[in-house]
């Protein structure tokens, strides 16, 4: 069974440009999460989807970040316009949900904003 996949693995963009990250969860997992680690700090939660609905987006830093999960399958996270402080590693995770909701992480996308 395939794990969580993310694309691209690396992205280098100029400040002010737009970048879109993609996450494909484990098949059958209704719960999808985005996290990020910036400046060597701890990994922090961004938002949580249940199927196509945003369950919790309390971790989204500002309105330059837009996440979608059309059809309840893969998800995209768009950063527009990107700022220097957005550099870091963006992780996606998925889980089956319920009381015992183990989360499985993708390999991450390393974003560098110059």
């Amino acid at each position: 069974e395939a794990g969580v996949t993310q694309f691209p693995s690396h992205s280098v963009i100029e400040k002010g440009q737009t970048v879109t990250l993609r996450c494909d969860p484990i098949s059958g997992h209704d719960n999808l999460y985005w996290y990020r680690r910036v400046m060597g700090k701890e990994i922090k939660f961004l938002l949580h989807f249940v199927k196509e609905s945003k369950q919790d987006e309390s971790g989204m830093p500002n309105n330059r970040f837009l996440a979608e999960r059309t059809g309840g399958t893969y998800s995209t996270l768009k950063v527009q316009p990107a700022e220097l402080e957005d550099s870091g590693v963006y992780f996606c995770a998925s889980g089956a949900g319920g009381r015992f909701n183990e989360q499985f992480f993708g390999p991450g996308t390393r974003l560098t904003v110059l």
């Binding site: 701890e42 992780f91 889980g95 390999p107 991450g108």
Partner: protein
């Protein structure tokens, strides 16, 4: 949010040695996971352990939820064990709160 503290922050071991990593958390939790971030940056699931003890090969973990801590034991360490170990806890909202990690270096 909940505070998650891991200790030690850094650990250097000789190959073959044993170690214990600790994770303290500030409030009651529903779930707890241990991860290993390998040199390529991937987060590998080690244990899903909201309470009790589990073992997987040379690794084992114990969570004492009532006392708000978890321990990860690594026995007979190997160079491939090197990397950062993260503890993460979940409360009511399904999202995980991560500690700052323990960076383990195993020397041949």
């Amino acid at each position: 949010g909940i505070q998650v503290e891991q200790s030690p922050p850094d650990l250097i071991l000789q190959e073959g040695a044993n170690s214990t990593l600790r994770c303290n958390f500030s409030d009651s939790v529903n779930n707890l996971q241990w991860f290993h971030q390998n040199p390529w940056g991937q987060l590998i699931n080690l244990f899903y352990i909201p309470s009790g003890t589990k073992q997987n090969g040379r690794l084992s973990a114990t969570t004492v939820a009532t006392e708000r801590y978890s321990l990860l034991y690594i026995s007979s360490s190997q160079t491939t064990d090197s990397g950062v170990y993260f503890c993460a806890v979940e409360r009511w909202a399904n999202n995980l709160f991560f500690g700052t990690g323990t960076r383990l270096t195993v020397i041949p």
